[in-house]
């Protein structure tokens, strides 16, 4: 609305425009919230509908939207079209860059110390294990979505394959966790290749739909193949992991008895914590290495321009399949860990919602960025727990936080890309240049 070519006109405030915009926002929020907040319905004791109105809350929300929209628009008009580079002084930016370099090692050290700091708090340890599981899943999916640019909506399928591989191998053949883990990864990557083949020629939305279907197919097969998987009843009493054959239980040859210390169930939780941390760090290390190898560069080139890849003699078929297989393998590892941690698995754990959550972590973190994905997993899983005190407004606040994040950082928490090789100095590449892939 304001003329960008006249700098002196920048501070002229268009109140009428701001009011119009705020009124529109208020109307939208009225329509949205009148059903979400304005009317509360419940089934009565005899099955009839009971409802009561909450118009005061509704009015408060609409008013907040109106005022908020007005203030934001006026502030925006007052500042003019300015990027962060103009708003934030250079010294602060340098400080942020320095803190950014310190963040990964600091985060790693903190993570290593979590079981020490929170040894008595079972809840936090369990939550940390959950967060790390999603960090690992996010890093695994990042290979497919972030690096190769292939949108995969059925990632949970490989998680399920890994979990059921471990559960079945361990309960049927009595194999130890450490034998089953690579097998679970191998089987999952086999399924990754099997998914990869039919979707090689698909792009964009079509690829997304087929991968979505693949995830559902795996789940439905698990539900219906009762003789093998136990169907909806799942697989109970999956063996717990052992420390190279030493069980972590209360028995005479358990770890506690051998070390001569008093048994505590926390030992197993701590062990599980370091196990998933190790697996996640392995995923991270392999992904970072792969990015600097020709295969990783080919994945990223594929995301940037598939036609150019073929003109350079890159076999795009095998390149895509390796991306699917690598991502699936990490999903399989995570699945095996999930099975051994839970001790019980059923198809309910592998719904589309899980795929969507992992994909949201990758997108929110910034596609292709390892640190971004880890931070996003922390925010999504940990943050969700943080809002537990808000009770019924939890989803609302969470949704709002995600929308705001996507407005401010449309390419994720860490949207820029670091080059894989450099001659003199590695400059980060702005997210405006990096393609999202056609998938």
């Amino acid at each position: 609305m304001s003329e960008p070519d006249k700098p002196h006109a920048r501070r002229v405030l268009h109140f009428a425009f701001a009011f119009k915009k705020a009124a529109l926002s208020a109307f939208v929020s009225l329509v949205l919230f009148s059903l979400m907040v304005g009317i509360r319905t419940e089934a009565g004791p005899t099955g009839q509908l009971i409802y009561w109105t909450r118009f005061d809350e509704l009015a408060g929300l609409v008013a907040a939207t109106f005022v908020g929209s007005l203030v934001i628009e006026l502030v925006r008009q007052w500042l003019g079209p300015a990027g962060t580079s103009q708003l934030v002084p250079a010294s602060v930016q340098n400080g942020i860059a320095f803190a950014g370099r310190l963040l990964p090692p600091a985060l790693l050290i903190f993570t290593l110390l979590v079981p020490v700091i929170f040894y008595d708090q079972r809840y936090i340890l369990d939550l940390a294990i959950l967060v790390l599981t999603y960090v690992m899943l996010g890093w695994g999916l990042n290979v497919v979505v972030g690096l190769a640019g292939l949108l995969d909506l059925g990632y949970v399928a490989f998680y399920a394959v890994g979990a059921y591989s471990y559960a079945l191998l361990a309960t049927t053949f009595d194999l130890s966790f450490w034998v089953c883990l690579p097998l679970a990864g191998l089987l999952a990557s086999l399924w990754g290749v099997m998914l990869g083949f039919p979707v090689l020629r698909l792009r964009g939305d079509y690829l997304a739909i087929v991968t979505l279907a693949f995830g559902e197919i795996i789940r439905l097969v698990i539900i219906n193949w009762q003789s093998l998987t136990g169907g909806p009843n799942g697989i109970p009493s999956i063996p717990r992991p052992t420390l190279f054959g030493i069980p972590l239980d209360n028995s005479d040859d358990g770890l506690a008895a051998r070390l001569g210390i008093e048994f505590s169930p926390t030992h197993r939780i701590v062990f599980l914590f370091y196990l998933i941390l190790g697996l996640a760090l392995l995923t991270n290390w392999v992904t970072i290495r792969l990015r600097r190898l020709p295969i990783g560069r080919a994945w990223e080139a594929l995301r940037e321009d598939e036609v150019a890849c073929r003109a350079l003699g890159i076999n795009t078929t095998t390149t895509k399949l390796t991306a699917f297989a690598t991502g699936a393998m990490f999903g399989g590892f995570a699945g095996a860990f999930f099975a051994t941690r839970q001790g019980f698995i059923s198809p309910e754990s592998f719904t589309f919602q899980e795929s969507a959550l992992v994909l949201a972590i990758v997108v929110l973190g910034g596609m292709g960025s390892q640190l971004g994905v880890a931070l996003a997993a922390l925010a999504m899983i940990g943050g969700f727990e943080l809002f537990r005190g808000l009770e019924q407004y939890r989803m609302l606040v969470f949704g709002l936080a995600m929308v705001l994040l996507m407005i401010w950082r449309p390419r994720g928490i860490i949207g820029h890309r670091a080059p894989t090789v450099y001659l003199k100095e590695a400059h980060v590449i702005s997210s405006d240049l990096v393609k999202e892939g056609h998938g």
Binding site: V307, C309, A311, L312, P419, L433
Partner: protein, 279 residues
């Protein structure tokens, strides 16, 4: 000159490409000489890019043969998949609308071009993953080759900048360097001078002549810029409506009344450029 089999790198014979009822290329035959610069010219819509796409495997020709001669061996390009044409037959190409990897640095673009060599050296990734010295040496060589080409196109100082951030003329040259990093026997350039100013266009001429002289690479190019075509081509093939209407040296083609008529009928400015440009 088309009968000289020992001295040709590419032989296109009776090439026809139909899209539904439209005949884009109709029984086109021509040869490209080894260590020569062959230009394919013609008015817009003459079917030049279609010929290119057939040669580089992006289209499967309806009929006809395309033979690439490597020493004694002849490779039938019309039977190979697109990426195998680049990998095995050593034919590299650039695109009319530049197709770099914009989010990767100039150096990375040139590293991706050496994918097949590096893939072999990395033992299909496994040797590379454990950081084997043989792979490290191969990567070092790849970086050296990339640096060599970056120096040659004058972009060494910008090696670590994103390709998408480079000026247009630099992107054109980088795309040629990327194609050269695949160490091709035949380099196919689709309008390399499009959008370049006179100075950049002169630098391009120099680059192409030096590629032919120093690397011994044969070049096939589509071009609208007559100053490029007339100055550096050894042999010119003129197409119109999918058929060849003339071929010969730049001088012969320029004086050919059929060529002048085709250009006058299609685009007056270009016809004048054909008649007036002096080599």
């Amino acid at each position: 000159m088309s009968g000289d089999r020992t001295d040709r790198i590419l032989g296109v014979d009776q090439l026809t490409m139909r899209f539904g009822g439209i005949v884009a290329v109709n029984e086109l035959s021509f040869d490209a000489g080894r260590r020569r610069i062959t230009a394919l010219i013609g008015p817009n819509g003459a079917g030049k890019t279609t010929v290119f796409n057939c040669i580089t495997g992006f289209y499967k020709p309806t009929s006809g043969t395309i033979r690439l001669t490597h020493g004694a061996a002849e490779i039938a390009l019309e039977r190979l998949n697109d990426f195998r044409i680049a990998k095995q037959a050593k034919v590299a190409r650039t695109f009319q609308n530049i197709r770099l990897f914009p989010g990767m640095t100039a150096l990375e673009n040139l590293m991706v071009a050496q994918h097949n060599m590096l893939m072999r050296a990395s033992g299909l990734t496994l040797l590379g993953l454990i950081g084997a010295p043989s792979y490290r040496a191969a990567e070092k060589r790849a970086i050296d080759l990339a640096s060599f080409w970056l120096r040659r196109i004058g972009l060494f100082e910008r090696a670590d900048d994103a390709a998408g951030n480079l000026p247009y003329g630099d992107q054109r040259r980088l795309e040629i360097a990327r194609a050269m990093c695949t160490e091709p026997a035949l380099l196919c350039l689709d309008e390399p001078a499009a959008g370049l100013n006179a100075r950049e266009s002169a630098a391009l001429n120099e680059l192409l002549l030096s590629i032919r002289a120093e690397e011994g690479t044969s070049i096939l190019l589509i071009e609208h810029d007559m100053s490029v075509v007339m100055e550096i081509s050894d042999h010119v093939v003129v197409m119109d409506y999918g058929v060849k209407i003339a071929e010969g040296t730049p001088q012969q083609v320029r004086d050919d009344p059929k060529v002048i008529a085709a250009y006058l009928g299609a685009d007056e400015e270009e016809a004048i450029a054909v008649m007036e440009s002096d080599t």
